[in-house]
Symmetry: C2
Subunit: 218 residues, 2 copies
Amino acid sequence: MATTHDVTDPGAHPRVRMSGVERRNQLLDIGRELFAERGYEATSIEEVAARASVSKPVVYSHFDGKDDLYDVVVGREMAALLGRFTDSLASAPAGGPRKLLERAALTLLDYIEDETDGFRILVRDSPVGAGATTFSGLINDIASRVEYILADEFRGRGYQPELAGLYSQALVGMVAMTGQWWLSVRRPSKEEVAAHLVNLAWNGLSALDPRPRLVIVR
Amino acid sequence: MATTHDVTDPGAHPRVRMSGVERRNQLLDIGRELFAERGYEATSIEEVAARASVSKPVVYSHFDGKDDLYDVVVGREMAALLGRFTDSLASAPAGGPRKLLERAALTLLDYIEDETDGFRILVRDSPVGAGATTFSGLINDIASRVEYILADEFRGRGYQPELAGLYSQALVGMVAMTGQWWLSVRRPSKEEVAAHLVNLAWNGLSALDPRPRLVIVR
DNA sequence: TGGCGAACCTACGGTTCCGTAGGTTACGGT
DNA sequence: ACCGTAACCTACGGAACCGTAGGTTCGCCA
């Protein structure tokens, strides 16, 4: 007759006792993974606990509930992506709009490749009443950054700057959707994809460069 | 003491008895509405029944279950959208790629405006194990139609036709995301949006037309 | 008018899941 | 050696939801 504590489940970790922050981070990672592959509704706290080889109350001791876990995961991911944009666009030596476009495209593609789960979550729907009427809150946020840059550029050229919103949505949508498609294809290479996207956005279909190159050194 | 059949709920319809197909279509419409506003998981059969002022088993007598209802709704919507594309592209007097682009953009924007719920469903996630790794199955399907057209055009110009996939994803993504954004803004007008999208896709950022016009007569 | 079948209902079983109450183990400082 | 506290567990209440069993109403047609 086995003792009550015969916790030798095959495949389960041998009962690790972590510190508070370690466990919290582990749960956040697992949450990101599950929310990415199943979405919010289909993810259960029970499975989060199971994947951490831990019981449910442990999860509740770190987060107020499912919503809270989700919010923290999303917030973390938003900060990560926005940080990448800030780094890559702010540190740029102001090389004109075309280089900016290249940088932005590469930044997003890099993020998609490195943090695939995070990207999936940002692209998926929010729980239910989340205000973000359009896509997911952040994609929109990115678009509004691009909008400022474009508005400046438009003013300089004499176009109507109030159209910058439309064009930035179009550009961000182009890159985001292509990135999502590229996730499941992985070909051609990321740099090639970026070059073609810039080619399309910059030259247009009427004057496509048959063999586009990136200007930025990597 | 009220009788068992005192079904005079205020606000509920006065107990209508429909024919089989009528009821089925009503349930499909309600399903589309709910799936669009809440997604698959958050929608319950009970609410579908409630909105139809009908009991749950009625829903089960028309559909095998939640999955089936969802599949039929999606299938119907895919057929509707594909039909629009077939009509608008096949009946075109072969006016060259630029007119094709205009037609495609307008077709998608029209659809988004007329069948907003349907579009939302197609853009949202599938239940869970739905193969569609990329976006939603159909957006991809549309993209592959565009791909054929583009591949032809590329061959004619001497570009690599195998890149048509990438460019079609980029173009469809651009229009789809802009359409989604436009849903919540509704300004500028649909025709203006289409004109600017074509402007961007055709001329590129480097040679934008400050006041683009559509070529097609509406 | 009588009866037959389609449309519909109430009621319930079984499952899943969120969130909590209350008790147990092990580590770290003294 | 001892004790406080942080980490963790089992067990359960309560709610939502899917899907079905069995019975009732209504319209049509002979």
